[in-house]
Amino acid sequence: MLQGVLLVVAVSLLVFALLYMMPGDPINMMVDRKVPEAKRAQMAEELGLNDPFLVQYGRWVKNIVFEQDFGNSVRYKTPVIDLMKDRVPRSVKLCGWSLLIEMLIALPLGLMCAIKKDSLFDRITVSGSLLLTAMPSFWLGALLVLVFAVGLKILPISGYEGAKYYILPIFALVSSTIAGTLRLTRSEVLEVLNEKYVTTAHAKGVPYKKVMLKHVLRNALIMVSVQVFMSIPWLISGAVVTEKIFGIPGMGNLLLNSIVVQDFPVVQAVLLIIAILTVICNLISDIVIALLDPRIRIAMGGGDK
């Protein structure tokens, strides 16, 4: 917990420093070049741009924490928080559904591959997943558009107005991240299959399917779900690419456009949110592992006493 807080503080410092060091005068981006020098100096003073680094950082953090004020977008001239309000739900929708679908596909497939290790089915699935990792996600997205939107004309190319606009992006995002989960599930299940308690379960006459689901998958899930939670931030960065391909105005697109036009307050805010999210995901994965594995639950409980 403490470590998480420390990391958030460090990341926020880093993000702030990154943009503090940014070349170019922020005033130049806010006002016209014709504004006289004296007026500029006055503005800089008002905005606190001449204060020491730590004072500026402190003010930035204070505004975020107490007023949810991430500053104003240089480009849109509106508060950053307003920009995010529309865009975050779209990104969350995209990532959430992708994660869910990824699990629904990867878990059974990984389990079957492990059970039927070295069979034709296993080989095809594993090489398929290898091919997916070698394939650039944006190209995969392009191919999907080509087949389903251009070729078969059953889905729209881009946009975000309804559910069917999300099918292709989710499909693309799932394809680019599923290989890792699939392979992890497979190797975890293979490991658990070698455990003695699986033999015990067989020996007491539990039906095969039940052994696989209740004993094998349940134990394999411990590591898999931890990994999945840890991979959420990576899913988000994958979403940056997906949002760009399919023209979904989410966080990723906002970040990209802001970087291109050097809209620093927005970049700062998005980076900070992703970093915090990462730390939160790490914390959740700690909790999840404790919930799934009684050995660790006891150890953690013991630590508190």
């Binding site: 003695k196 308690y197 033999t199 015990t200 067989h202 020996a203 007491k204 006459g205 539990v206 050995r295």
Partner: protein, 325 residues
């Protein structure tokens, strides 16, 4: 004489390994009657565990080939499909493993795991749980109710082995295979577990196939003894018979290796060499290279199994000769 509960007939098991086949079990014939305790003795790696697992059709891997027949209540288990075996396992044959530390699933409570076995017989959950507690009492688990709600890692090795026994007894199988049930435990705990196993025989009339490398244990619990060496059954006899009148040189050496405080011999006898890895089946006695009585023919011919007395078989030329005389 009651009918044989389990009969192994010419059981051979080979593992496919790099460069040929590893003969783990070769031509083993064995029988257990109802309510009888049979001890299978042998050094590590002699194929005892392989025999045990093959009875349950639970051999690991898929790279083994099994031949021969496993007759249980007059039916060949080798003809059974996996799902038919599922009905045999637990219900008719139970099995306890060597290491209780990792033979229980770490994510479920011990009670849950025992209950899972009981529920297989379509019993009501409450009744099943009551039975779990009774069973825990039967295996002399201290503080049974609490332990049933504990996770395996919260229990000691001895307690876990009790859980295993309770689990395997829960459906009252006719046969219990115990694969070195006490090897991983302390000596004091060992005695308690053996006591429980012996009680079983009396209370439930369960036949027990006890696999061990400890000859001392055999004397304590067994009715019949089977000695295995390098995958072959070399001697089978009543427990008294085998201690009084061992026929095979290997059995004799094992006897000598037993620590006996009362006798003057004092030092433990050591058998030189180690169990050979049999890669290719060649003629000759597998023990010949370590045998003090080895003759030339021992290296060239394979000895047959001969019945030296009633219910006493031995696979050795010496026994063969003796009988012929």
């Amino acid at each position: 004489m009651s009918e044989d509960l389990l009969r192994l007939e010419h059981l051979s098991i080979d593992y496919k390994v790099k460069g040929g086949y590893l003969s783990a079990v070769n031509d083993v014939n064995l029988k257990i009657k109802k309510g009888e305790i049979l001890a299978v003795v042998g050094e590590s790696g002699c194929g005892k565990s392989t025999v045990a697992h093959s009875i349950m059709n639970l051999l690991p891997g898929g790279n083994e080939s099994v031949e021969g027949r496993i007759m249980f209540r007059g039916e060949n288990l080798r003809d059974y499909s996996w799902s038919e075996m599922e009905k045999i396992r637990g219900k008719h044959i139970g099995m306890i493993f060597q290491n209780p530390l990792d033979s229980l699933n770490p994510v479920y409570t011990t009670g849950d795991q025992v209950q899972e076995a009981i529920l297989m017989d379509k019993v009501d959950k409450v009744i099943a749980w009551q039975k779990v507690c009774d069973l825990f009492n039967d295996v002399k688990m201290p503080d049974a109710e609490t332990r049933a709600r504990s996770f395996p890692h919260e229990l000691s090795g001895g307690m876990r082995q009790r859980v295993m026994i309770a689990m395997m007894l829960s459906r009252e199988p006719e046969l219990l295979i115990a694969d070195e049930p006490t090897t991983a435990l302390d000596v004091t705990i060992e005695a308690q577990i053996l006591e429980i196993i012996k009680d079983l025989k009396h209370t439930h009339n369960t036949a027990i196939m006890m696999i061990t490398h400890n000859f001392g244990l055999v004397a304590e619990v067994a009715d019949k003894v089977a000695v295995m060496y390098a995958g072959e059954l070399i001697e089978y006899a009543d427990v008294f018979e085998i201690f009084e009148n061992p026929q095979h040189p290997y059995t004799k050496l094992l006897m000598k290796a037993l620590p006996r405080g009362t006798k003057k011999e004092g030092r433990l006898q050591i058998i030189d060499g180690s169990v050979p890895r049999i890669l290719d089946k060649k003629p000759g006695c597998r023990f010949a290279n370590r045998c003090p009585y080895a003759q030339e023919r021992c290296f060239n011919e394979t000895p047959r199994e001969v019945e030296v007395a009633e219910d006493h078989t031995c696979r050795c030329f010496l026994a063969e000769e003796k009988k012929e005389v």
